[in-house]
């Protein structure tokens, strides 16, 4: 081989070596800066959250910064990141430096333990109420006057009713919606699993569009005028009512629904690297204070603090609520049975 022919290959080799050398030194620098920072120097933390909590945490973060300044004299700014719950979990696993995660369902925080050991296995026991500062539930948004006369879950699976709900495979909120419908069917049929499966098959048979997230489904229902009922988060339904007018839509509380518990946790690996454990823990504890609970209630999340809850009682109709643990044996099991590859949800669409 002539020298000129070897040139491209050698150039390639040299550049590859250079490239790997650059990578090496930059990681060195990265770890040096993290080691240097101590707790007192942390001036910002990142809260990685799911989609509909944008407005909620914006308000809470301002309140927390004021509170933290008053207590410690330090300035702190809480940055937020929002997206589909599963996608956010994946971003943290892939290296997004989240000090705290506030996600749509426990399964996604479990994933932080299973894929990367970012949190301990018992993360959910560290804070009150299964690490859930405020709860929510699944409600229906229907067209004004209830033209299809939808009252019970069974009404939704009648012929000619169109249900708009996002895809449980890609949306955390949609998983809660699926379990709300499935659980309601279980309760109405004396826990007969076969009947509940038949119900859920008819339920998704009435779904003309599977959007990828809760907000997309709201847009499909309101702006595109598709469907008779939107099955979604309580706060999303109330927000849609505010946004698009109560003269066009109504929020209906089904006779029975699910207690949705979107949990929170610090990400141990990140806070220990950054030295931000103290402030991250304070931030999560702040979520349980009367002040934060009040903000949550105003944003249509159900407060867990008894006194705040009683003050906002008329805003949150009391309906029969079941939990994932009661009917589905926890999130891990629910995920495996219903949403994993080849699970109940996949079977609905399998050709017979």
């Amino acid at each position: 081989m002539k020298l000129s022919q070897m040139f491209p290959l050698s150039l390639l080799a040299v550049t590859l070596i250079l490239a790997s050398g650059c990578k090496q030194s930059s990681t060195d620098q990265g770890s040096a800066t993290t080691q240097a920072s101590t707790d007192s120097q942390v001036s910002e933390i990142l809260n990685v959250s799911y989609d509909p909590t944008r407005e909620l945490y914006k308000e809470i973060n301002t309140a927390f910064a004021t509170d933290w300044k008053a207590k410690t004299g330090q300035d702190i700014s809480v940055k937020q990141s929002h997206g589909g719950s599963g996608k956010q979990a994946r971003a943290v696993i892939d290296g997004l430096q989240a000090d705290v995660v506030t996600l749509g369902l426990a399964y996604d925080i479990d994933a932080l333990h299973d894929h990367g050991d970012l949190v301990p296995a018992d993360w959910q026991k560290r804070l009150p109420n299964n690490s859930t500062p405020f709860t929510s539930t699944i409600v229906w948004l229907i067209r004004k006057g209830n033209p299809k006369n939808l009252k019970a879950w069974d009404d939704l699976v009648k012929d000619g009713v169109q249900i708009v709900v996002p895809n449980p495979k890609t949306s955390g909120g949609a998983r809660w919606a699926y379990l709300a419908a499935y659980g309601a069917a279980l309760q109405e049929n004396n826990n007969d699993d076969a009947k509940a499966r038949a119900f859920i098959t008819r339920f998704y048979g009435n779904v003309p569009v599977l959007d990828s997230g809760a907000r997309d489904a709201t847009v499909t229902f309101t702006k595109r005028g598709l469907g008779d009922v939107l099955v979604s988060w309580e706060n999303e339904g109330q927000l849609a009512l505010q946004e698009f007018g109560s003269d066009q839509y109504e929020v209906v509380y089904p006779p029975v629904s699910i207690l949705a518990e979107p949990p929170v946790s610090i990400v141990d690996k990140v806070v220990d690297d950054r030295g931000s454990r103290k402030v991250a823990e304070a931030y999560l504890n702040f979520l349980y204070t009367a002040q934060a609970q009040e903000i949550a209630a105003k944003n249509h999340y159900r407060p867990t603090d008894a006194s705040v809850a009683s003050r906002y009682a008329n805003q949150f109709p009391q309906i029969k609520l079941f939990t994932v643990d009661e009917l589905f044996g926890g999130w891990k099991k629910a995920q495996e049975t219903h949403f994993a590859d080849g699970g109940v949800f996949d079977q609905i669409y399998k050709p017979k």
Binding site: Q5, S10, T15, N167, A340
Partner: protein
């Protein structure tokens, strides 16, 4: 290689080839190699179960089928548009010409949302189509519509320069020899336009196969019916099954490569025929 060297009169062969190789390696080959590497985490059996799952197969059918139809539509309409832009003079021609590239600049999600807004049953166009029983948004035709939108510039832009270079005198000569308009188009214009048309077709097809952003808004994303393969990939990622996601992607990649290779061979073959005739 020695032959290559003898024929080359241009300087800098080593440097430019080296740069090309390096560039291709980092930008194209490395990510693709990583994709294949990740898929290797699966055993052959797992790989086959993943990619032959009925839902995945249905998604491939939707992706490749809709892309194929969209590319055909683009080839036909794109040829017409290019023809109009090159051959006629009219008011606003420059403006129209500049507009052709817009689908490239527009974020595809915006394209998807606008098309859905227009074609939903309460949208401007959907409202007119609905009484006729034609549904575009949330159906298979909606997917084709979105893919046609994003792929159109490829065909127009590949045909335009060739048409511009085609001397009208050749057509005039054919006409003076007694050829009718249709015959001129078929025997004089079309053979010239055919290779770029195929190129535009394959570019538009390839672009459509990988499209995600616009389609998820206008498709109903119902498994087995209107779910495209990229959505299947996202679903697998959502379950933290990275290897399965890459397995689906690798099959798409290989299939696309084979199809593009076949089109390229077809191009060569027809070009060869043209010379002989």
């Amino acid at each position: 290689m020695a032959q290559l060297k003898r024929h080359s009169v241009l300087p800098g062969f080593g440097l430019s080839l080296g740069y090309t190789l390096f560039y291709l390696s980092t930008i194209v080959l490395l990510p693709l190699a990583a994709l294949v590497l990740k898929t290797m985490h699966l055993t052959w059996g797992q790989f086959m179960t993943t990619v032959t799952d009925p839902e995945v197969l249905a998604a491939y059918r939707v992706s490749f089928g809709a892309s194929f139809v969209a590319a055909i539509l683009n080839a036909a309409i794109g040829l017409l548009v290019a023809w109009v832009l090159v051959r006629y003079r009219f008011f606003g021609k420059r403006f129209l010409d500049a507009m052709i590239d817009l689908p490239f600049a527009l974020p595809t999600a915006v394209a998807g949302i606008s098309l859905t807004t227009l074609y939903a049953k309460n949208g401007w166009i959907g409202r007119l189509l609905d009484p006729l029983g034609i549904h575009v948004a949330y159906t298979w035709s909606g997917i084709v519509l979105a893919l046609t939108f994003i792929g159109m510039p490829f065909v127009v832009r590949t045909i335009q320069p060739v048409l511009q270079d085609l001397d009208p005198e050749v057509e005039e000569a054919a006409a003076s020899l007694g050829a009718g308009r249709w015959l001129i188009f078929r025997r004089v214009v079309f053979p010239e336009v055919w290779p770029p048309l195929l190129t535009g077709f394959s570019l538009s097809f390839a672009r459509a196969v990988g499209e995600y952003g616009s389609v998820i808004f206008i498709a109903a994303n119902i498994p087995m019916k209107t779910e495209i393969a990229p959505v299947m990939i996202v679903k697998k990622l959502e379950e933290f099954q990275y290897s399965q996601a890459t397995a689906i992607a690798v099959v798409m990649l290989v299939a696309s490569f084979i199809i593009l290779l076949m089109i390229s061979l077809l191009q060569k073959w027809t070009a060869g025929r043209g010379v002989r005739r």
